[in-house]
Structure formats: C-alpha cells, structure tokens
Amino acid sequence: MSTAETRTRTTPGLVPVPETSRATERRPPEPPAGAVPPRRSSSAFWRLLGSELGLTFRRPRNLVMLGVLAGVPVVMGVALRLVAADAELGGIVTSVAGNSLMLTFASLSFLVVLLMPVAVAMVAGDAIAGEAGTGTLRYLLAAPAGRTRLLAVKYLNAVVFSFAVTAVVALSALVTGLIMFPVGPVTLLSGTTVPVAEGLLRILISVGYVGAGMAALAAVALALSTFTEVSIGAVAGTMVIVIVSQVLRAIPQFDGLADYLLPARWTGFDGALRSPIDTGAMAEGLLTFGAYIVLSGSVAWARFSGKDITS
C-alpha cells in the first residue's frame, strides 16, 4: 500500500491535520471525545415498539380490518333485533335479545372462530416476512435493530394488536347491545342471574382470555413469518393451521386432541359465563396459550437469530 499519498482531513473542532494512511493506521486507540458514545438505553426499546405500533395502527389495511370487526356486532345486533321482534324464538336469540350484555358474548363466540384469527394472522404473519419482502428488514438490522430485540418488539406489537382486535369486537358489541336491548341483570349459561356490574366484569375477563388466545395465534404466525419473504405465505399458513384445527376438533375420533388445539381453547371464554366462573377450564386454556407462545417463540427466535438476510 502506498504511503506517498498525503491528505488533509478536516475534523470538526480541530485544526486540519495532514496525515498519511499509514499514520492513520498507526494512531493509538483514543477514547471517543465530545459526543456521547453509542450506548443502549432501555427507552430505545420502547421507541422502536412505539414506531412499530404506529406502523400497525396507521396502516390502512389494518384499520379496514378493525373496522370490519367493529361492524359485525352491529350487523348481528340489528339482525337479532329484527328476528326477535318477529317471532317467538328460543335459545341464543332470546338470551341476546333479552339482555344488552349478551351480544358481547355472542359476538366474541361468532368472530373468534375465523375473522379475528384472520386479522391477527395478517399482522403477525406480516411481521418479519413483510419487512423481508420489501427489503426494509436489511435496513432495520443494519441500523442496528438487533435480531432478538426486533423479534421481541414485533411480537409485543402483535400481542397489542391481538388485544386491540378483541377489545374492538367487545366494545362495538357492548355499545350496540346497550342501544338495542334492555339493560338489566344478566342470566348466565348456568342459569344464575348476576347484576349488570358483575356482567361487565365477566366481559372484561372474557376479553382478557380471548386476547391471550389471539396472542398465542400471533406467536404461531410470527414463527411462520421468519421462514418466508412473502407475508401472504405466513398468513395463509397460519389460517391453514387454524382451519385444520377446527376440522380435527369437529371429528369425534380426535377428541383427545381437542384440548391441545387453539380454536377449541378460544371458545373456552364461556367459562366466564358460568357461576361460579369455571376457573379450572380457563386456566387450562391459558396454559395451552402459554405453551403455544413459548414453543412458537422459540422456533421464531432459533430461525431468525441465525438467518441469512438475503432479501
């Protein structure tokens, strides 16, 4: 390498110093002067999470999805009101039409089967694959976001979205129910009647439980998301898992398996509609969700931390 070349470098705050490339190499280590040395702050994690949440909740397609989810309970409420006015019907129609809070439970049990999982899979399945597909993943990692940190932020974001999806359905159903149906003591599935305040508490418990179930699905979608650069692949893969689980659950010969399937556990929120609350079944459900989260999280981390980013 030639050392003949002498260049003048201007360093801010210093007089220009002529130096050769060899002099540069020989320069002894010196502590950083002036500016703050690179240091990780815990606030940086929250800043990245904030950025992630901002992207998720400003993205038009996610907002449309939340809007559709908010609209379904309204449609259900209107339909049930029309049906209830027309005819003498029993079962779910009477119980929903008879009390404003019951629409919330009816909406959750209807939407938890397919539409809520679709919304959650759309966000969580897009988490890594979407960034890889647009190429933004390489710039995030070069920033450097840090692979484990990015994965943690992506998952937390998906968890927040899971609870948001559940809360949107519950809130829309609650407001619709309060407008369309009479307010009064709630008759539970077990036949017991509880006051309105306790009914609201039971709605809150249901939302927490279903949110946790959606968060478990988000972990599955995130794991799939680390395997592809096409986010639709991860989303579709997650939905295939959901639908196959529903099918297995419907076949009596696979009854033993049902306890380990997410869709079978999601509807377990009706434990909150019994008196006393079926804490045993709900705890088992939460344990199942936890197992899915730990397992899928490990797969996602193992895959993503060693992956070559070539997109």
Partner: protein
C-alpha cells in the same frame, strides 16, 4: 468546512482501528456455491475505497457479511475496530438499492429507521431527519409518500437514511445504480463532500470510471476473489505506461526506440508503441527527431483501472457505463 460538534454529518469521534478489516472472509451458500472466497480487505480510515467488480463477483454478499446480515462460512471481520453491535450505529449503509415503506412519507420512513438504532435519541430525531433530507435535496419532498418518489429520489432518500447520525463509515452498495447522468453526478459530489468531512466511504461499483473518479483506494473482485487492492495510484502503477508514436517511418522509429532501451517495441503501418519505462517522453521525441524520423504525433498511454482489471483477470467487464 466547519460544522458544530454533534452535527449529524460531521465525522463521529474516532474509535480505534482501521475502518474495515477482513481476514479470510468466506461465504459458501447452501449448494456449495462460493460467493466470497477468503477475502482480506484493509480499508484505511479517511479513504474513499472503491470495491470494484463485475456484477455477481461477490460484492453485495461481502457487504452483507460486513453488516452482519449474512453469517460468514469462515473468516472474521471488524468495522472501526469494534464489535459489530457497537460499530453499526457509527456506520451508515446503502445495501442493494433503496427499500422503504411505500405508504409512509420520506420523513416518516427516516424516523422509522432512526427508531431502530438503539443509540439514536428520539429527542433530536426531527432535527436530524430534516438535516439529512436537506443534505440530499429532498427537503421539499419530505411529506410526500415514498410510493410517489422517482427512482432518483428513492436513491437519495436511501443515502439520507445512511446520514441520520454521526457516521465514521459509510458503506454504499452501487449508489449510482439506476440514476440518470444528473443524479449520478449529484451522488458522486455528495460522496466527495462526505469524505471531505473525514468519513470513510466504502463504495461498491461495477463501473470502473466511477471508482477512478471518486476513490483514493480500490479493491478489485473477480468471481468471489480479491485480485488486487491498494491506492488507485499503486494499482495503476502495476501496469506500465506506453508511448505511442505516429510516424510515416515505423521501422526507423522502432529502431530508435529499441536503441534507447525501450522494451516491447511494436510497430504497425503508421505507428509504433513501446513501454515507456523510466524514459521522459520529450527525450524520446528529441531522439527520434535527432535520428531524422518524422514524428506526426506522440502520446503517452497511461493504464486505466480497466487495463489493470484485464491484466489481472484476463477478462473484460461485462457491464460498463
């Protein structure tokens, strides 16, 4: 040029060590294809280092390894003499073209990438983003969606993203790819400006002329291997200058040149060329005229990087701009 301390585009305070050092860096992809073969790079601080090679010679894979995106099969490397996680916040990068969120504005895109840097402060992001956009001339388009940016604007936004913090090293992978001549000139001027602030610039290119114009140092890659590196002067010095004489008397001229001691004398119908060696061209001319050989023209052909490349690899560049 003076800038206030902590300004985003000034050189960051130096950390120890060369800008980039790689030793035996190798990447073998699944399937056995060797993309990068035992690469030893030494990029001195303050240099503008051209990383030259035809498309597919392993430049981008090398850059991905440098930035920790791809794990090397063998070998090691350091940036700025630091562990990778510590070095990356001091490194601005443009890898294989711009990539942004199409539904966000240019400004929102930069804020997004700034949030991913754990050492960047949220308190100063507005100012730093504004300055980076102004630096690349996108100040007026800051609020426009990335979707509606032209190719040149996208490339400039990617460079702005690389300039969000105080950088000691910029890694630019084909920064002029896809730009029109005007955009190319702008990017080259920007690189020179950044380098003048003391920032080391590592720029890959498949355009020989570009590297010759911008860089102080260069490395030449061919099919995953490093075939040469050093200062531009020392690389070109590896090839000898030739003197070319236009004359109606090639035989006479050849005789004179041989008598002077010039090597590799070649004569054609109307011209003679020879290796100049240590001879001054004006002395060669005087000798020719003194011997009565008519000289219609005399020129010295200095070797270009392309000659160096052809000399080293025995093949030309597949693409040239």
């Amino acid at each position: 040029m003076t800038r206030e301390a902590g300004a985003p585009f000034g050189a960051a305070p130096p950390s120890a060590g060369a800008a980039i050092v790689t030793r035996g860096l190798t990447k073998r992809f699944r399937g056995g294809q060797v993309a990068v073969d035992s690469l030893d790079l030494d990029v001195p601080r303050g240099s503008v280092y051209g990383f030259l090679g035809p498309n597919g010679s392993g430049k981008t894979t090398t850059i991905r390894m440098l930035l920790g995106l791809v794990a090397p099969t063998a070998g090691e490397h350091t940036l700025l003499g630091l562990p990778l996680a510590g070095a990356l916040p001091r490194v601005g990068a443009l890898v294989e073209g711009p990539a942004f969120y199409p539904y966000l504005s240019g400004e929102a895109n930069l804020r997004r990438f700034d949030a991913a840097d754990p050492t960047a402060s949220g308190a100063t992001v507005r100012r730093r983003v504004g300055e980076a956009l102004d630096r690349v001339g996108l100040g007026a388009a800051a609020g426009k969606r990335y979707r509606n940016y032209s190719l040149g604007m996208r490339q400039r936004l990617a460079i702005a993203a690389a300039l969000l913090g105080p950088r000691e090293l910029l890694v630019l992978d084909e920064p002029t790819n896809g730009l029109d001549p005007q955009g190319t000139r702008e990017v080259r001027a920007l690189v020179k400006e950044i380098a003048a602030d003391g920032t080391t610039v590592f720029v890959s290119s498949h355009l020989l002329a570009e590297v010759e114009q911008m860089c102080t140092h260069a490395a030449i890659m061919s099919t995953g291997r490093l075939v040469a590196q050093g200062t531009i002067a020392s690389l070109s010095g590896g090839q000898v200058s030739r003197v070319r004489i236009e004359t109606p008397d090639p035989a006479g001229a050849a005789r004179v040149l041989a008598a002077l001691g010039l090597a590799d004398v070649r004569a054609t119908d109307a011209e003679v060329t020879a290796e100049l060696g240590g001879h001054a061209p004006e002395r060669v001319n005087a000798a020719l005229v003194g011997e009565g050989v008519a000289v219609r023209g005399l020129s010295v052909v200095r070797p270009s990087l392309e000659d160096v490349f052809v000399g080293l690899t025995g093949e030309g560049f597949d693409v040239d701009g």
